[in-house]
Point group: C2
Chain length 203, copies 2
């Protein structure tokens, strides 16, 4: 299969993590010269954004959607629960990834790293609320969902949180969140990307 991505995209990185953890052979393709805004790419994703996954005759746009597709098709029960309550819990965090994470830490990074004009105060406030909420949520459990196994919810939330220092956010006060980042980075198949904060290296 083929993953269209940019090396600096935290959204694409979610998918790279799952592809690696599931040990799925794949080819990485970087759209160049604005190809992601041209007809051929727009036919795969009218939003003109990476990531896009092509697996045979299946084309999937959107990072959360690709996680769902890969988990449901290749992940088995460890990555794709059949239980409705757990599916709902996964979805709640996928929505958080698409909403609060995308318009919080991911937006601040877009501003600081790529110069995009944003409402910095609003994005900062949204980010700090989110970091606090995640930190509290992870105080008594190792992963976002109950139980001792990570899920695609963790993979969907993780990249832009671990990239948050590139947007000027300090993660060190959030000790439970920091522990979760370290656990994720210790998982077999974890893939690095430039800019990811490594709490275990902080000393």
């Amino acid at each position: 299969m083929k993953l269209y991505y940019f090396p600096a995209s935290g959204n694409a990185h979610k998918v790279r993590l799952l592809l690696s953890m599931l040990q799925l052979p794949h080819e990485l393709v970087v759209p160049t010269d604005g190809a992601h805004k041209q007809a051929e790419f727009l036919a795969m994703n009218p939003f003109g954004q990476v990531p896009v996954l092509v697996d045979g005759d299946v084309v999937v746009r959107d990072s959360q959607a690709i996680l769902v597709y890969l988990a449901a098709r290749y992940g088995g029960p460890a990555w794709w629960p059949q239980d409705a309550a757990r599916l709902g819990a996964v979805q709640a965090w996928l929505s958080t990834a698409a909403n609060e994470v995308a318009h919080g830490p991911a937006l601040l990074r877009m501003h600081r790293k790529f110069g995009r004009t944003i409402d910095v105060e609003a994005a900062t406030q949204r980010s700090l609320s989110l970091l606090q909420l995640l930190d509290t949520h992870l105080r008594d459990q190792p992963w976002l969902l109950a139980g001792d196994q990570p899920s695609i919810a963790d993979l969907a939330i993780y990249p832009y949180i671990a990239l948050a220092p590139e947007g000027g956010l300090d993660l060190t006060p959030f000790v439970h969140l920091t522990g979760w980042i370290a656990r994720l980075q210790s998982l077999p198949g974890h893939v690095d990307m430039p800019g990811l904060w490594h709490p275990l290296d902080k000393a």
Copy 2:
């Protein structure tokens, strides 16, 4: 089961639509006096937002997540596909609902109807791009996913699109989108809410 909601919430309305279409008996509860920002409610949803669904000992936050939960638990194959490619296609639109819809038409409505301070120009631009994209997507197909049946993707996108005129957006130029709104409003079990635009009444 119990749905915590506000009558003016398009997010809660997504859930009311599916509860009605699946003919699931339920009780509607409106948090009063800021109860949704207090401890008891925050224990169900730390984001302090409606909707929240309580079904026996299962508590689900987030409108998209509640759609997934209800579809997976009660919807049968008509509402919850087993096919990974279709699950991925559903998820792509659930992400769009949580991202572009929430930060486009829903935000403009929040501004015009409830006085929230926002970047009007950015939200308008995002909204118009989204409306155009949806209109094009629905040119050759009746629903957001391929096939002749609606899915939870349609329910997730619909309320804030049909409420867009309350945010100052004119939907009449988007004829395919308008046809889709009319089709949704003709489905058995469709529930109305104040502010929803009814294209069939426009004459």
